[in-house]
């Protein structure tokens, strides 16, 4: 390690080790409370009535029967909805795409199936649920358009670009001509299913009306600041009138990045009734907002006979809603991954009568990398190259789309270490060459890539006279281990045992941090926490040096270490003072500091930052029946410094399992006649279960990165990227059939329809 996260103060004792999560006991004992579990004495319960149609207009809404039920407090519809801001921009949250965000109960118009059309509020949940079933809605139905293939001709280049989403780079060279002239060509259309996030915890908001009329809001969101700003602008409130908390999430995967409609409805009802209201969505209502929308993609590759790329085209058309232009990075990855002189990448949208799609774990990369990495496998076969050799032949040390070097890129090590662990050298490349009994065996591989980002974040730290430290900010822990890594960083920076450090997250009264997403939390909040603790270390050192007869009187800060709760002269543990003694002797009640972190501008000007992975997959397929078992995955990850081997591994495991789901199982099935997702429950929307998961090995290769002082690059997304391509490539190796439409279900394998 040359990059020390904290060269002067402290040293790695907890950072880099496998440490169980600090919030584990609270979670397994039920002490950890989630947004839909907070309560108040005056709590009322709201149940959402959802639209039966996807497009049209409400012609009548009869709430009389519901209102007649004893215990019902109010039925809110578009006909009696209290006023909120009339400006569409007041509903644009921090991660909103261009457009006019959906507003619940705003009018009689229906824009997607499952759209909320009423909120029934009652004294108890059962009454609200019963009364909600009594609301009668009649509609004038219009024909919805939800089939992306039918709407592909209407594709357009989004006129307004979404903040933070790079549009495709300008083409370079002449891809069409080079493709024409190429010695070897492969090209095909790739499809995948619409997917829904389905975190275990459904979306819920509890709005508590305090005695002074302010609101305390518990919201299932990946960043409380986003909810806070949304509420204050939509409801015209002052910042101090709203406090938002969300200490824990039962998974997010991106579905909690934007404030969702249950929050708006709970707030609307609470303000109207002047009492606390909770709205929890049902599992089927989890299909009525944000999803990973399908993209129809065409990838065409040209190469010379040796496999060197001469032409690369990647075109994607993705679905969005009628009212917002959701955008993600789908095609750029192809340009970043490989060196090629003639590249053309395009990305366009087409309008569908669905909710606005949203970021779902590795948004865009899951989609685009699936296509390019499958096409690369096809090129490997077309040129008779080993898939790894082909990727190395086209390897690039610079990001061709920006013409800058990568800050770090240990992808070669991923290939080497992953291949070794997997036993790739023993692979017979011929399709259908490996068999065990009735099962065909296939080995495939792919590359994964994700951006390494940092966002402006703050963190606050308080060291008490008892030597206990509290750190925190407003970001969210999605269940990935943020509490734990921040605790490790803080403990190491100040040389404290982890038990003496408490991390607080998910509260707008804490230091400001952005939503947790994009894999940027560890780098951003981690650096902010480290800086806050460094500042406390400096304060403590100054106090210590100024103490009467101080043993550190003539020592510079650079020469001390913080360890075992003490400030010590480096290399001389006998010369030092306990932090508690420093505070006691100087009559200091506590030390406080705020740390700010953000992207390093110098670094960003000179380097591009990405995480990479190499995924190896083994499938066993019953040749006759098409049953697929994914029996082995090896994923070698290059993501800079790993803060906690245990939570990091878990995060990658989760990404891989989700990738297996994307490859083999997950599919939200639309009935295009009515524009409705039909399998809207976890019984029929299949995510992998234990029986689908076998051996998964995660390797973290060494990678030194300088984008931030921690050397961290982020892990939330990289685990899933490329997994579907590796599995699809393994299916080809096993069967000789190239299936270019996810999920790969047994009917596609046996080729019967």
């Amino acid at each position: 390690m040359t990059v020390q996260f904290s060269p002067a103060a402290g040293h790695d004792r907890f950072v880099g080790r496998a440490i169980s999560r600090v919030d584990g006991p609270a979670k397994v004992t039920g002490l950890a409370k989630y947004a839909g579990e907070f309560t108040a004495l005056d709590l009322a319960y709201g149940v959402v009535v959802s639209s039966a149609i996807a497009k049209g207009r409400i012609t009548g809404i009869d709430t009389a029967a519901a209102e007649a039920v004893p215990g019902v407090l109010k039925v809110l519809t578009h006909e009696n909805r209290p006023a909120t801001s009339t400006k569409p921009e007041d509903y644009q949250d921090a991660v909103a795409p261009p457009g006019a965000p959906f507003q619940a109960l705003a009018s009689d118009r229906i824009a997607f199936s499952g759209q909320p059309v009423a909120l029934v509020v009652a004294e108890d949940f059962e009454t609200a649920r019963y009364a909600a079933a009594l609301v009668r809605v009649t509609y004038a139905t219009e024909r919805p358009h939800t089939d992306i293939t039918a709407q592909a001709d209407a594709a357009y280049d989004p006129p307004m670009k979404r903040a933070g989403i790079k549009p495709p780079p300008e083409p370079w060279g002449d891809a069409a001509k080079a493709l024409e002239a190429a010695e070897v060509r492969v090209g095909a259309e790739f499809r995948m299913a619409d997917e829904h996030h389905n975190p275990m915890e459904p979306h819920a908001s509890t709005v508590i009306v305090e005695k002074d009329g302010t609101y305390t809001v518990y919201d299932k969101v990946q960043g409380v600041s986003n909810t806070h700003d949304y509420i204050t602008s939509a409801f015209g409130l002052k910042p101090e009138q709203v406090r938002v908390l969300n200490p824990y999430l039962g998974g997010g995967f991106g579905s909690g990045l934007r404030p969702q409609y249950q929050l708006f409805l709970a707030m609307l009802a609470a303000r109207d009734l002047r009492r606390s209201v909770r709205v929890t969505l049902t599992r089927d209502q989890m299909w009525s907002f944000t999803y990973r929308s399908e993209a129809v993609q065409i990838v065409a590759l040209g190469a010379d006979r040796s496999g060197k790329l001469t032409a690369l085209r990647h075109d994607a058309v993705q679905g969005t809603s009628q009212f917002e232009d959701y955008q993600e990075v789908v095609v750029n990855w192809s340009g970043v991954l490989y060196e090629c002189d003639n590249v053309a990448l395009t990305y366009s949208l087409t309008k569908l009568d669905t909710p606005t799609p949203g970021d779902m774990r590795a948004p865009g990369a899951v989609t685009g990398v699936y296509a390019i990495e499958t096409a690369m496998d096809e090129l490997a076969y077309a040129t008779g190259q080993d898939p790894i050799a082909l990727r190395l032949k086209n390897y690039t040390e610079r990001d061709p789309t920006e013409d800058k070097p990568f800050g770090s890129k240990a992808l070669r090590d991923c290939f080497r270490q992953g291949a070794e662990r997997f036993g790739w050298a023993r692979r017979d490349p011929a399709p259908r060459s490996m068999r065990e009994g009735r099962e065909l065996v296939g080995w495939g591989m792919a590359t994964g890539i994700w951006e390494s980002m940092m966002m402006q974040s703050s963190a606050h730290a308080v060291l008490g006279a008892d030597g206990r430290l509290e750190v925190g900010n407003s970001t969210g822990d999605l269940g990935t281990g943020t509490y734990t890594i921040l605790t490790q960083i803080a403990a190491d920076t100040l040389g404290l045992p982890m038990e003496h450090v408490t991390t607080k997250l998910g509260d707008t009264r804490l230091a400001q941090a952005p939503v947790a997403g994009g894999s940027w939390t560890a780098a951003s909040s981690g650096t902010a926490v480290m800086k806050a603790c460094r500042a406390i270390a400096e304060q403590a050192f100054k106090l210590a040096r100024g103490m009467e007869n101080s043993v550190l009187a003539n020592v510079d800060f650079e020469r001390v270490v913080f360890t075992n709760g003490r400030i010590e002269l480096a290399g001389d543990p006998g010369t030092g003072i306990a932090l508690t003694e420093v505070l006691r002797a100087t009559g200091t009640e506590r030390l406080e500091a705020t740390g700010d972190a953000g992207p390093d501008k110098d670094f960003a000007q000179n380097y591009e930052a990405y995480t990479h992975s190499a995924i190896f997959a083994e499938v066993k397929i019953d040749e006759e029946l098409g049953q697929i078992r994914c029996t082995r995955i090896v994923s070698a990850i290059a993501a800079g410094k790993i803060l906690n081997l245990k939570t990091a591994r878990s995060q990658i495991l989760g990404g891989i399992v989700m990738g297996i789901g994307s490859a083999l199982h997950e599919e939200s099935m639309l009935d295009h006649r009515i524009g409705r997702f039909m399998n809207h429950n976890l019984g029929e929307y299949h995510v992998p279960v234990n029986a689908d998961i076998h051996d998964i090995a995660v390797i973290f290769v060494d990678e030194e990165d300088k984008a931030n002082p921690l050397g961290v690059k982020g892990l939330g997304e990289i685990g899933i990227v490329g997994v579907a391509a590796a599995i699809g490539n393994a299916v080809f190796h096993a069967t000789g059939q190239r299936i270019r439409h996810l999920p790969i279900t047994l009917d596609k394998v046996i080729g019967a329809d």
């Binding site: 959802s50 639209s51 039966a52 149609i53 199936s113 059962e126 649920r129 019963y130 079933a133 049902t282 089927d284 009994g437 009735r438 099962e439 066993k620 019953d622 006759e624 029946l625 098409g626 049953q627 078992r629 083999l664 199982h665 099935m669 639309l670 009935d671 006649r673 009515i674 409705r676 039909m678 399998n679 809207h680 429950n681 019984g683 029929e684 299949h686 992998p688 279960v689 234990n690 029986a691 689908d692 279900t745 047994l746 009917d747 046996i750 019967a752 329809d753």
Partner: protein, 337 residues
Amino acid sequence: MNRFDYVRPDTVAEAVQALGADPGARFIAGGTNLIDLMKYDVERPGRLIDITRLPLRQIEERDGGLRIGALATNATVAYDARVRERYPLLSSAILAGATAQLRNAASTGGNLLQRTRCYYFYDTATPCNKREPGSGCGAIGGVNRIHAIFGASAHCIATHPSDMAVALAALEAVVQVSGPSGERSIPLAEFHRLPGDDPARDTTLAPGEIIVAVDLPPPAFATHYTYLKLRDRLSYAFALVSVAAALELDGTTIRTARLALGGVAHKPWRNAQAEALLQGKPATRETFQAAADLIVAEAKPQSTNGFKIELARRAIVRGLEQAAAGTPQSQSDKRIQ
């Protein structure tokens, strides 16, 4: 979910009486399906009759076979030593379904009476003749990957989701019921019905009747049997196609054959002609293919489930091969033998 009354009788007679007096009443045992249906507002019973106190939990010897009480849980039946030894096909089929938690709660009678998992049946925003007679069938021409290829009608293409019932059909179990006009026996094959023009009715139970037991006739298929289930993930998914196969062999010649398919029709699907064709034939792949061809000859696809016909054909052959070889499908190791 609507509001409902709740009663808990102690005897079968009281239960029957409670049901007979109230057309809006439903029995509840494990509740693993009914509660879901109530939450979806598909079932709106005015009264729940909790039958879990009825003395129907026993598994007893009876006429050389076994009598399984209607309230014996799926887990109890699957792990009962007598069932495992003498009716391993039934044990295997039960373990192919649901999850350990569900099997611990679900009852034998309730398993037979569970409703289809057709998406449209569960979604009150869509038409469904089974849920709301006369409203139409949303699944025809819609999302019907999991729907029937045998015995469907112009009114309903739903399938029965039970794995247990498929094994019981192959074993020719008999359902014992009690009702206002006394007790009667219904052969499993006649217990579930095809949708025809009345898809709201899943079974031939008369109004007011309760299942009290399921009788297994003397065992005959403890060696050559299998339950092979094909689905979209390897556990906790309903069958796209399942095969319960049971054979008696004289050397390599088939003396008796029983074959029932799940996931393909409104009831466990049997074909007497195919079973007759197998009888007296050598237990070879050619024989099995002939039987499979005969069965799937009458299959009819819907708009997106045509693959199930070829899948069923292949699954029948494999199921019969597994049964003949005495290598039944493991329900824990998902590799297909």
